[in-house]
């Protein structure tokens, strides 16, 4: 399958970009930064192509559906959304330091999708529960949310490392703080939409808009953590280090919602194949 081949090449491009961002930090030459950004752009282009081809291939197999239906496809889409957001951030703030924190996450997601032994990269037909128009909107909103939270997390990590001399050209604390907050907000709105579309779908598929399935419960936990974070900022004026801690805690909840709950029994079992 062409798409999986393209997507495994994308993995290397993201790894290359990460290494270039690292070189940029170590050698302090903007040339490396440029090389990194072009690798990211090339990777994102190929990634998009890979996703579209996979979509098309599913139609030629006669089981056409958006490539958002199993664990492999969710990892690939997660990485895509993350890199897309990253490109927008780099372009907006005209600063490349965040790349060294975001790209390794994108690379790991892609590598995990291609290499983990029990993840099937085959295009599979949709089982009856997944045959719904809500599938696309639910998965897209959830993973856009996860991607935004990942960017906020990367900024949170950066916030703690900004005083180490090696990371000399990280933007100043205030910009980081604002950017972290913006991504927490973006993630929060997308997660809210994700939970809602999921609820509507569950209302049609499972007979109840909310079943306290572990994934549902953990998405609520994640939502509440970010709600606390946003309130702490709006009402109590929390900034800087405390917000960075919350961004990291929130991301841990995101990871558990995405991966951890698969080890708990529940309804969201589509991701186990």
């Amino acid at each position: 399958m062409t798409n999986t081949m393209i997507l495994s090449w994308v993995t290397f491009l993201y790894f290359g970009a990460f290494v270039f961002y690292l070189f940029r930090l170590v050698f302090g030459k903007e040339l490396w930064g440029k090389a990194a950004f072009y690798s990211v752009l090339g990777g994102l282009g190929a990634h998009t192509l890979g996703l579209l081809l996979r979509w098309k291939e599913s139609y030629s197999l006669g089981i056409g559906h958006a490539p958002l239906s199993n664990f492999y496809e969710s990892l690939i889409f997660f990485a895509w959304a993350l890199v897309l957001l990253y490109v927008i951030v780099e372009w907006r703030i005209k600063n490349r330091s965040l790349g060294v924190f975001v790209l390794p996450v994108a690379f790991l997601l892609m590598a995990f999708a291609s290499l983990a032994p029990n993840i099937s990269n085959r295009i599979q037909p949709l089982v009856p529960a997944l045959q719904s128009n809500w599938l696309t909107s639910h998965v897209v909103t959830c993973f856009m949310g996860y991607a935004a939270f990942t960017v906020a997390f990367a900024i949170g990590i950066m916030y703690f490392l900004r005083n180490i001399p090696l990371f000399g050209f990280i933007p100043e604390g205030d910009i980081l703080d604002e950017l972290m907050y913006q991504h927490a907000v973006l993630g929060f709105v997308f997660l809210t939409l994700g939970i809602m579309t999921g609820s509507v779908w569950a209302h049609y598929a499972w007979g109840s808009y909310w079943s306290w399935d572990p994934k549902e419960t953990w998405s609520l936990i994640t939502w509440l953590i970010y709600a606390v974070m946003l309130h702490a900022r709006y009402v109590r004026g929390w900034k800087g280090k405390r917000m960075a801690v919350l961004a990291i805690v929130g991301f841990a909840a995101v990871l558990f919602t995405y991966l951890g709950v698969n080890y708990l029994p529940g309804l969201h079992s589509y991701l186990q194949s």
Partner: protein, 464 residues
């Protein structure tokens, strides 16, 4: 507000309380995902020491999300939200209504040089020019005469966004209310209906007994289709809904496409095949044509020419790991003979040569001159339906819409206020631009920069 001295009021007006309650909700939810809940809890409780199990039972830990604890948390959160909202309301209302025309103290102090312009025209002309610049973007322009030689123009945008956060909190109240309505007046249950059978009651979830339905459901047919790779493709029940013997609705029920009738929703949840189905039995008399007959357990039929009667004694889905089989008993003039007829007889013979000779019970041609064969088990499917009613659902939908609108207003809109002061200063006219926002200073900064750019261009044009 006079109520502020009331200790009850100030307790509930605290945002620390909100954060504490949210943290408690998080902790309770985490516990709820690690201790098996509801149906899964029963098995779990048997595997732990009885003392611990009964303690957890008393603490309602096996149904945490419907426990007193959770209910209490939601109640406190709801009260907290109401009090906080009421507490902040007067200030919000003031900020919404009152356009402080002269702005606050020191509004025009310490402005950056890019926000100050000087020109030769008089105050009146410049006021007109400024109004002309503003009325393209701002709906309402207010103007006051400050002192004798100064005018202040005031414009604003996004005034209504001050209410957005109240909309979000209102949506949360509706969410809690909708969930309560569902918990008190809603129900959920399951029923299995075999093909051709009817049901007029369901088993409520959590072993809470049976519930009569306002109609009768008949399963006319159940169909399951598979993809080439063996994954299920379609589950479909053809149902007829009857009331007082009359059909009120007839149609297919598919996953993701529930049927809603009389306030009750019916979902395709599962399926199965009943083990006491029927067998498709073939027999052939030497030299004659094969006949196939469908029989269920206990049923019997006669062989041609009254050579005997055949009764199906047992029907097995999988006999001794050799696949489906039926045991038949043949009564004839020669007495009774009984043996098993297998579906996969050829394969069994291949694997165990001579088995039918050694074990007469497995020989399908034991009753001569007939040979029997099992063509297949007539699987009778049953459909598993989930039936539920949730009067809170429309409220939840309304709450969801409100929440999204509210979040948009809260996060992506702000109340931006701009004051332009035009005053006579030593033979020149000075224009200064001051602005305030309740959030997102970057957005305001951009807006003011654009406005300053326009003023600059307008002044350059005016002077040439």
């Amino acid at each position: 507000m006079p109520k502020q001295k009331n200790p009850f009021w100030s307790f509930f007006a605290s945002v620390y309380l909100t954060i504490t309650l949210l943290v408690f909700t998080v902790v309770l939810s985490i516990v709820g995902t690690f201790i098996p809940q509801q149906d899964a809890a029963r098995e779990f409780a048997q595997g732990i020491p009885p003392g611990l199990a009964s303690f957890l039972q008393t603490m309602q830990a096996f149904d945490l999300f419907h426990s007193v604890w959770f209910f209490l948390l939601m109640l406190l959160l709801s009260l907290n939200l109401i009090v906080c909202s009421l507490n902040r309301w007067p200030l919000t209302w003031k900020q919404f209504r009152g356009a402080p025309l002269s702005g606050e103290e020191g509004l025009f102090r310490g402005l950056s040089p890019e926000r100050i312009f000087l020109c030769d025209e008089n105050v009146g002309t410049m006021t007109g020019r400024m109004e002309g610049l503003l009325n393209r973007k701002y709906r309402k322009i207010s103007k006051t005469q400050e002192k004798e030689d100064a005018v202040i123009i005031y414009v604003e945008r996004g005034r209504y966004s001050r209410f957005a956060v109240y909309v979000v909190h209102l949506s949360l109240q509706l969410l809690i209310l909708g969930a309560l309505m569902g918990a008190f007046w809603g129900w959920e249950g399951y029923v299995n209906i075999g093909e051709g059978e009817t049901a007029d009651a369901i088993d409520l979830k959590g072993g809470k007994g049976a519930k009569a339905l306002p109609f009768t459901i008949r399963c006319d047919k159940f169909i399951v289709e598979f993809y080439k790779n063996g994954a299920p493709k379609t589950y479909r029940s053809d149902l007829t809904f009857l009331k007082d013997g009359k059909t009120i609705y007839q149609g297919p029920l598919l996953v993701n496409h529930p049927v809603s009738l009389a306030g009750v929703r019916v979902y395709q949840a599962s399926y199965g095949s009943s083990p006491d189905g029927r067998a498709s039995l073939a027999f052939v008399r030497a030299g004659q044509e094969e006949k196939i007959i469908k029989v269920g357990p206990g049923e019997s039929f006669s062989l041609p020419e009254k050579e005997g009667t055949v009764q199906v004694v047992r029907l097995e889905e999988n006999l001794m790991q050799m696949g489906p089989a039926v045991k038949i008993l043949i009564r004839s003039g020669q007495g009774e003979v009984s043996f098993w007829v297998f579906l996969h007889i050829d394969k069994i013979r291949e694997m165990n040569p001579g088995v039918t000779e050694q074990v007469p019970m497995f020989n399908p041609s034991l009753f001569k001159p007939y040979v029997f064969a099992l063509k297949g088990m007539e699987e009778r499917y049953y459909t598993g339906l989930q039936v539920s009613r949730d009067p809170g659902a429309p409220l939840m939908a309304a709450a969801a819409v409100l929440m999204i609108l509210g979040l948009m207003g809260t996060f992506f809109s702000s109340h931006r206020r701009i004051w332009i002061k035009i005053q006579q200063l030593g033979g020149k006219t000075r224009i200064s631009v001051a602005a305030r926002t309740n959030k997102h200073p970057v957005v305001l900064e951009r807006e003011v920069r654009q406005l300053a750019e326009k003023i600059k261009i307008s002044l350059e044009k005016g002077s040439t």
